[in-house]
């Protein structure tokens, strides 16, 4: 800092610690609740320190689920969420790499039209076209399937732009050299562009994994079959059931299971995450 002001430094730490504490408080409470016995969390004040039921509670929700919520065990849901998150993030990255490659490295009629068509998807989130998109998916018999859960979400303007931006910075000399060596378009893409894009792919993957895992409205629309439920969308049914038969210790365990994977991805891949977040908004 410019001048030495111990009081301000102290104040800064104080404000930050309060901020961190308030941010973490709800997670702490839910984490602690997930280790209690049902009878200990029926009324406030609920315990603020760990109970001894952690293993039992997590086992119960993973294998059996929440009674009265009609949504089954959480184990398979976590698997569905994982499939959805991976399919969406890998799918988005793959088709965006291909389209960005086509747009940057080829000249063909309709190139700008293709570019703008992809751009428009930015302006049409699922939330604004709920009913007609549902009808399309139903018409294609994709309800209650992994294809229906993922394919409609894997078009991505942001990923395409990011890769386009990056490809434009790749020196033309590389392309020329590849051509001189007799490499065709696909070989150039596979052996030169893809390896160069690694860091961008990693950064984007973190953001898209979170996006895919956290999908809520879309799985709610296209799944009616329990075996395709994802954990994030099922939490609502569980809370509804809790009003009749409170199982807060189990709901807390489900919430922890639902938020752990994306939070771990962010914490462990923090550098990629920050980079991806800032890059995708350019």
């Amino acid at each position: 800092m410019v001048e030495h002001r111990p009081f301000l430094t102290f104040l800064a730490h104080f404000v930050l610690i309060v901020g961190v504490a308030v941010t973490a408080l709800p997670i702490w409470i839910v984490l602690v609740t997930s280790t209690q016995e049902a009878s200990d969390v029926l009324r406030a004040p609920i315990p603020m320190w760990f109970g001894d039921q952690a293993i039992e509670n997590y086992k119960a929700v993973l294998g059996v689920g929440i009674t009265g919520s009609s949504s089954g065990p959480v184990g398979p849901m976590l698997l569905n969420s994982l499939v959805m998150a991976l399919a969406i993030s890998i799918g988005k990255i793959a088709i965006s790499l291909l389209s960005a490659f086509a747009i940057v490295y080829f000249r063909f009629p309709g190139r700008m039209l293709a570019f703008w068509t992809i751009f428009v998807t930015l302006m049409l989130p699922v939330e604004v076209r709920i009913l007609p998109t549902f009808e399309v998916v139903a018409g294609l018999h994709l309800l209650n399937s992994y294809a229906g859960l993922t394919i409609p979400l894997i078009a991505s303007a942001t990923a395409t732009f990011l890769f386009r931006q990056f490809f434009l910075t790749v020196p033309d000399e590389l392309t020329e050299a590849a051509r001189v060596d007799g490499a065709g378009a696909l070989k150039f893409f596979k052996d030169i562009l893809l390896p160069l894009s690694r860091t961008n792919i990693a950064a984007l993957f973190v953001i898209l994994f979170i996006y895919g895992w956290n999908q809520y409205l879309w799985p709610l629309l296209v799944t009616t079959d329990e075996s395709y439920y994802t954990v994030v969308m099922s939490i609502q049914r569980m809370i509804q059931a809790a009003d009749a038969a409170p199982e807060w210790h189990h709901i807390a365990a489900v919430a922890m299971l639902a938020l752990m994977p994306p939070v771990l991805v962010v914490v462990l891949m923090q550098r990629w995450f920050v980079r991806g977040l800032i890059e995708t908004e350019k």
Partner: protein, 294 residues
Amino acid sequence: MHKRVVFRERWLAYLLLAPQLAITLIFFIWPASQALWQSMLQQDPFGLSVQFVGLENFERLFANPDYLNSLEVTALFSAAVAFSGIAIALLLAVMADRVLRAATFYKTLLIWPYAVAPAIAGVLWLFMFHPTIGVVAWLLGKIGYAWNHHLNGGQALVLVIVAATWKQISYNFLFFLAGLQAIPKSLIEAGAIDGAGPGKRFWTIVFPLLSPTTFFLLVVNVVYAFFDTFGIVHAVTEGGPGQDTTILVYKVFKDGFIGLDLGGSAAQSVVLMAIVITLTVIQFRWVERRVQYG
């Protein structure tokens, strides 16, 4: 968008674009055009015939007190989320920028809520505010304030605002911190030499230099509050009590998917589309400006 060296196989280019374009056309453009078209149709009460009614659905929509109420709730909700999210994040970022060495440490502890799904964020705060088990509700009860968001619409709105803001702070924080760290130290030093204290320096040097970031975040936060908070509302309050937390996106879902009002829901979709398009255009115009002059 220019490369000197390009490949010549046109068919390959079309092939490479095909998956993305197919998905875009089938799942984005076609449904959106359907929404536009359906917004001008009306079904008779038995669902037997459909007739073209022009803009009548929109007239009905804007004459409907429920819809106007939802507009009002959405405006209040997004203003509150954007304002508090930006203000708190800015405060934390300025503080983190002061304690250089510890900034990374605090950053790690502040950014993870970004990864929590909106619906789960709602559940976390439900645990805090639940009338029977919530700590905050209990503490409020101790000081004589009865908290029950199942009955009190204002409290329900506060609950969804808190959950939505909590989730968004990490995002705003990262952008503010990046913006702060990009400000040349010489400017701050010059201010200090001229005798400006930390407060004055913030308002006259730092804050104006951050205004592009702030504006950008304002747009992003409004978009977030409009569209990404569906999960919070659906999981925690279901739009209630009454209509008190029925934001526009929740209303489209409810009227279309549960109420099966084809024309009315389509008209609502079209209004929402207009809102996203406006916000996206504003955002991109701003990005372009920054690229040119920044």
